[in-house]
Each structure stands twice: as C-alpha cells, then as structure tokens.
Amino acid sequence: MKRGVLLTLAVALAAAAPPPPGALVCSGCHAATADPGFPPIAGRAAAELEAELLAYRAGTRPATVMDRLTRGFSPGELTSIAAYWAAQK
C-alpha cells in the first residue's frame, strides 16, 4: 500500500528524452576526463561520428576494439547513438 502511494510522486528528469539504447555505455571508455586515453566523442559533429561508427562496423577503419563493439548494433542504432553523443558536452 505504501509503495502505491510513493510511486505516484512526481520526479522531474534533467533530460527530456531517455538516451538511445547502448549510448550510455560509451563513457565507460570515452570519459570526459582531463587526460583522455580514448579519443573524445562528446560534442563532435553527428555526421562525423556516424561515419566513423559505420566504418568500424564495416571493418574499413583500423581498430583494436571499436569494430568488435559496433558489430553489435544496427546502422540505425549507431545513427541514434551518434546523434546522442553529438548533443553531449
């Protein structure tokens, strides 16, 4: 009963839309740190990010790990993820 009451609490969210599936994991490596050991991706042009991700997926861009990861996504999912990271600071 108590949970029923508490569940109706309105919680405001900082962002309007939730991130597309998969987009949250990228910061596990591409962190916004002062000394980036991985190339920065936040705030870059969406079209560029998308082209790079699709090239990794196709195996036409040299990679140690991005080829293995991007093959788990459809091109459409990668487009959404590129748009999400382009919009991050």
Partner: protein
Amino acid sequence: MTFGRRTLIAATLGAPFVAQAQPKARVIVVGGGFGGATAARTLKRVAPDIDVVLIEPNPVFTACPASNAVIAGLRDHETLRFTYKTLEAEGIRLIHQRVIAIDAAHSSLTLADNTRLDFTRAILAPGIAIRWNALPGYTEAAAAVMPHAWRGGAQIMLLRERLAAVPDGGLVVISVPATPYRCPSAPYERASLVAHHLKLRKPRAKLIVLDSNDSFSMQRLFLAAWKSLYPNLEHLALSASGKVTEVNAGTGEIRTDFETYTPDLANIIPPQRAADIAVQSGVADRTGWCPITPVTFESLLCPGIHVIGDATLLGAMPKSAFAAAAQAKACAHAVALILNGQTPEPPHLLNTCYALIAPHLAISSAGVYRHHGTILVDTEGAGGNSALDAPRSTREAEARHAEAWFHAVTTEAFG
C-alpha cells in the same frame, strides 16, 4: 505514522528536517563499489530531486581491477584507493554503515546500528561473498595463510608481500574455481603477472595454475602468451586433474584427485556467491545469485528492489567492473523513468575486459548483449577477443587502453 517515521529518518541522517507538502522520492543504494557509486551519481544527475542515499561501510574503496599489477609489484597500492568526497559534494548522502536487513514488503532496510530507513526504491550493488568451506578446508582462518585477494582490502597487500617472499626455486600455486565467479579473465591475468614477477626475480621458481575449468576466457590468447613468455608457468585444466578438492592451511597442502602440492605460496581463488545481504534478504535464489529482469534490473523475487553488478544472475554478461558500471547507468535511468511514471526501453549493454599478459602488453575480450527473457544473451557476430596474430604494437596499444579504461571507470564511479 509515515510523517513520524520521516522525521526520524531525517534526524538520523543529520539533515535538517523541513516539513514538505510533497515528500521526496528516496532511492537507497546499497554498496559503494563500481555498481553502487556509478548508480548513485547517475541517478543524482538524471533526477536531481531524488533523495539519493548511498550506504557503504568502508570510507575508502579498494578497487580490484589493476590489483593484479599491485600484487606483482608493478603498481602502487595507493592507485587502487578511492573516497566518496565527490559523491557527497554532488548531494548524495553517504552513510558509512552496513545494511543488515532489507524488508522489501515494507520498503525499508535496517543498518548495523538498528536505524530503519524507508525507501521508494532500492538499488543493491553489494558484490560477492566467498562461500567459505565450499572448497573443503578453505575457511576465513585459512585465507590468512592462503590469501585469495579477490575482494580488495588488506588481502591485496598480503598476497603481494607473500609473493615477494617466495624463494628462488620455490613453488607458487594459483587455484581457480569453477565458473561463475567475479571477473572470468582475472585469474589468468594474475597468473601472467605472477609468472612475470617470478621470471624476473626468481628465475628457478615455478607457478602452477590448478584450474576447475576446461575452457576459460581468452584461452588461446593466454596460452599463446604463456608459451612464448613464461616457461615457468604450468596450467592444469579440469581434465588434466587441475581441480583442487581440498586445502589444509595447517600443513600448507593443496590436493587434487591425483596429487598433493605443498607450495611456498598458495593463492586460492575461492567459490563465490552474491553478498550476504542479498542472500539474507531473499533477493538471491538457490543459485546464490540474484535473478532480475535485465530491462530495469528489478529483482524477480523482491519487487521495488533493483540489483546490479556481480551479485546478479545475468547469463552471458560477465561479472566485471565494466559490466557493473554499464548496468548501473542503465538501472539508474530506468529507476528515474519509473519514478517519473514512464516505462523504460530495454537497454543495450556492452562489456570489455582488458587483461595484461606482461607489464606493457594487453589483450581484451568484448561482448554486446541483448535481453532474452530474464537473461542477457550475446549478440551474434559482435564482440570477441583481440586477434591471436595481432602485432606487438596492438598489444601495447591495448595495455595503454587498459590503463585509460581504469582511469575512466574509476572517474565515472568516484569522480
């Protein structure tokens, strides 16, 4: 009644009690490791209104990733230690106590000093417990003599000191339990770095890895590395009688079905299960791990309680810090959406584990997972290991990435 309880809670937490027309939603995160710390920070960022409370007994967290390098004398122990100062500055309320009971039916939990706290939802990230005596003879007392160094803390330095004291010509044994256990590649990374240490400092000493499995993470890569780098390392798989059946801390003996070893140093990686609190509160099932729905990470046994990290029963996704952090971010977003009255979409999860085969050479294993009912399954065609025939420059690049990943994951969790 609810009002009275809230007053009590506010007083216990040391926060001024302000009468509110609308009570705040409170999410309590249990455990401030990779899963818990990342979940608490993500939730506070996504939904700043939520009262986020993180309960963790230790004021300083000791990370397990990179601890193998510390054990082998290649890295400073201080680099593994993290505090919760950034989290507190971000408005997360830290309580340095142990949770001793969770009452899911009444959405409340009890701390070691008997304080009761209510929650709207709880996120459990308590990690693993060791199943003492599941390997006959391996008790808490035995761990002081035959260290495991599998849960951070003082065991890491104990194993480092014991390794440094192994004489030239001595024998080291590492025992690996049957899967599932925390971090499937870590025993083999440890074996590599221990063999490296012995080769350099005690050229006549030997390492035997006694394995309760026949196949293991990045097997071909590790076996190839050992063959070329470590003639002092012998690996005995399950089918080669590698399974340890009993240990005796008094005599220092380690038994398999065919052999008794009396090494100078035994590192026993013991059988594991979800942490005690998960078992005691009924969130874990008979496997010893916590079944959840991999969309919101909500417990299948205790609604309102979400579980992430090593404590979960998740199918293909390994128990790693990378995985715990990935689940934490997805779970925090899902909890915020649920409290906002929305239905979360299934997440899409990745894992990558880097493992050093020598100080500046690393390999990696990656996976991409989608949910299939109550478990996560591998996405076909994706993930996999570093190439077996990759040039040395790739191994060197991956060693730099291993270090960069450790920096990224600890920064995301602890600031």
